[in-house]
């Protein structure tokens, strides 16, 4: 177990190094003037562009620039200035991420519960009604673009029914939150509202979360249902399941104790895939619902050619992805001893 985790941990910095090289290589497609934008914090500096290029060595050989850039990013934690967020990239990530965390958190739970339940049910009742329903459901949502689904939800549940408005809070609640009477503990709005004892803020936050969560859930659940189903079918064919049945155990015991536990092992890996998928999915969902998280900021920065913003966003998401995968690998080895011994 220790050597397995050790090997994963050794790979981690290698991948991280590769990510920085990739991002830096992409940046080299830009002219020095555009890269200099990262160091500009007010309009007056625009006249001093050549001096800035000189000062930060943007006309130096590539490898020297890379080392300088890396030093800037890792030693000083300086990712540049984001034009779209009007603050340094590092602070921008800090201020946008809690909203995204809230969104992914509330989407992740229903995705795992409904996905696993529907997948197992479909496998156990193979070729029955529930199997067909889950099949149609899964292939439809795999084919529907997330933004079309999101726009439909927005049209119906906000435009028509006025249930789930876009944004993060309504005007009145937002003013209250900013008034100073509200203390931010975690910057996750629903939790903060409860900690402050302000139920009306909590309810308003939930109302605003419902639309994006519904969008993310529906889109991501399809894959989980498919994989749980085929994994469960595979397990149901195993000898130990037949043995359990031959011993005369009740069917629920066979399914829940013998089969499902083993069928859930691939689902652990899948949970990290789902997490990564959610991080990609928030770009579209947050843009549609005007939800102030890092996804909307990243898309907006890309649109406005705010290069420091985009690259900072991408590196942050990559770091989360790599850590998510690492966690999944470790959990996988923990639950499946065969992996450790390989």
């Amino acid at each position: 177990m220790a050597t397995y985790i050790g090997r994963r941990l050794v790979l981690l910095p290698i991948v991280a190094f590769g990510v920085t090289v990739l991002i830096f290589a992409l940046l080299q497609f830009l002219a020095p003037e555009m890269r200099a934008a990262a160091f500009i914090t007010n309009p007056n500096q625009l006249n001093a562009l050549p001096a800035i290029i000189q000062k930060y060595g943007l006309d130096k050989p590539v490898h020297i620039q890379y080392v300088n850039w890396l030093r800037e990013v890792f030693l000083r934690g300086n990712l540049g200035w984001s034009q779209t967020a009007r603050q340094p990239v590092r602070q921008a990530i800090g201020s946008f991420f809690p909203a995204t965390l809230e969104l992914t958190m509330y989407s992740f739970i229903p995705i795992m519960i409904i996905g696993v339940w529907l997948g197992t049910a479909a496998a156990v009742h193979r070729d029955k009604a529930i199997d067909h329903v889950s099949r149609v459901f899964s292939i439809s949502f795999r084919s529907l673009p997330s933004f079309v689904w999101g726009l439909l939800i927005l049209m119906i549940l906000y435009g028509r029914l006025n249930w789930f408005p876009p944004g993060r809070l309504s005007l009145e609640q937002d003013l209250f939150v900013r008034s100073g009477q509200f203390h931010f503990y975690t910057h996750v709005m629903t939790i903060d509202a409860l900690l402050n004892g302000e139920l009306w803020i909590f309810l308003d936050a939930v109302r605003h979360l419902a639309g994006p969560v519904l969008t993310l859930t529906m889109i991501s659940i399809a894959l989980l249902v498919r994989i749980t189903r085929s994994s469960m079918l595979e397990v149901l064919r195993q000898d130990y399941v037949r043995t359990a049945r031959a011993k005369g155990l009740d069917e629920p015991v066979v399914i829940n104790v013998h089969a499902r536990k083993n069928a859930l092992i691939p689902v652990i890996t899948l949970s990290s895939l789902t997490f990564v998928g959610l991080l990609g999915g928030v770009v579209i969902t947050e843009t549609i619902f005007n939800f102030p998280g890092i996804g909307r900021w990243g898309a907006f920065a890309a649109n406005q050619l705010d290069i420091p913003g985009v690259t900072g966003f991408a590196m942050f998401v990559a770091a989360l992805t790599v850590l998510g995968n690492l966690a999944a690998d470790i959990l996988y080895a923990y639950f499946d001893p065969r992996v450790r011994l390989q």
Binding site: L22, L26, P145, L152, L154, G280, G298, A299, T321
Partner: protein
Amino acid sequence: MGLLSAAVRGVQVNRTRLLPLAGIVAACFAAALVLPATRDRVLRYPLAIAEFILLALFVIAFWTIPSDFTRRMRRNPLSVAGFSIIVLFVAIAALAPILAPPPATSRDAYLIPQEGFSSDPKPPQVRHPFGTTEGQYDIYYGIIWGTRTAFRVSITVIAISVVIGLFLGGISGYYGGRLDEIIMRLTDVFLAFPGLVLAVVVVAVLGRSLDNVMIAIAIVNWPVYARLLRGDILGIRSRDFVEAARALGGNDFRIIFRHIIPNAIYPFLVFGSLDVGLIVLTAAALSFLGLGAEVGYADWGMLINLSRNWILGAPGNPFAYWYVVIFPGAAIFLFVLGWNLLGDAFRDILDPRLRGSS
């Protein structure tokens, strides 16, 4: 050549069944030539008609090849549905200039004609069967020509990914060792980003254009292909026929390209066809975010992006502009659905282990 001769045989075997089909197609063309409204269009684009007939023949031939594969395909209603949807889109793409003739003054047929500059979308009417978007781009025209864009994007991306995947995956799987380690860590780096995020960065840096969208999606996609081929090659490398080729003095290049890749490429190509749906979805998402083709280019995601400000409708009438989402959205959905249905059927047929389990 093998496919062609098999197809000819298929046509011969199924002659009686094919006759009514050919008759219907011929009748449609005759009708189109007789009706004055459509005659001009048909006569103006003989090339599109020729393309269409060629494709139709190819499709019919493929469908009637007497083999286990096509027999299973024909028996499964889902794969028939998927196949029909794809054929429909192929027909639309081939006949695009006839279904939606570009205006005489247009410099590029892919640019959607614009009628006026009024900002609010206009509902479906005779001149614009699916309505218009913000800025008066015709949605019908955009959907018809967008079919060609969708095919172009997916074919280009798959071609690039397959070439890179073949090269790197082949080296990695065949030589193993340190080279394998390096290439696999390289794929790790590219897979450390959610696909859409990396694509967004690449388009933001390279600039906004359809070519860059294709490059971006190919950059996101190739590692999957490289890993797939590597895995296949690892299984094949130690097989007897490879040993035999080596014993006969074949060099590495010859062994890889003549013996290993032809034996590993089949699942690889099937995977490519499954991937079309995902590629089109990513391209549409990029366009929707405003990171796709130039404004006014026939592209499904772009059509929705153009009218994004209007989807909440007018006061008192929330669905006033339903057509700006529904028509392009349905086009993307059907296209991707067709490929997914076909892909599931392919997998069911070609992978006996999974047969009936997905």
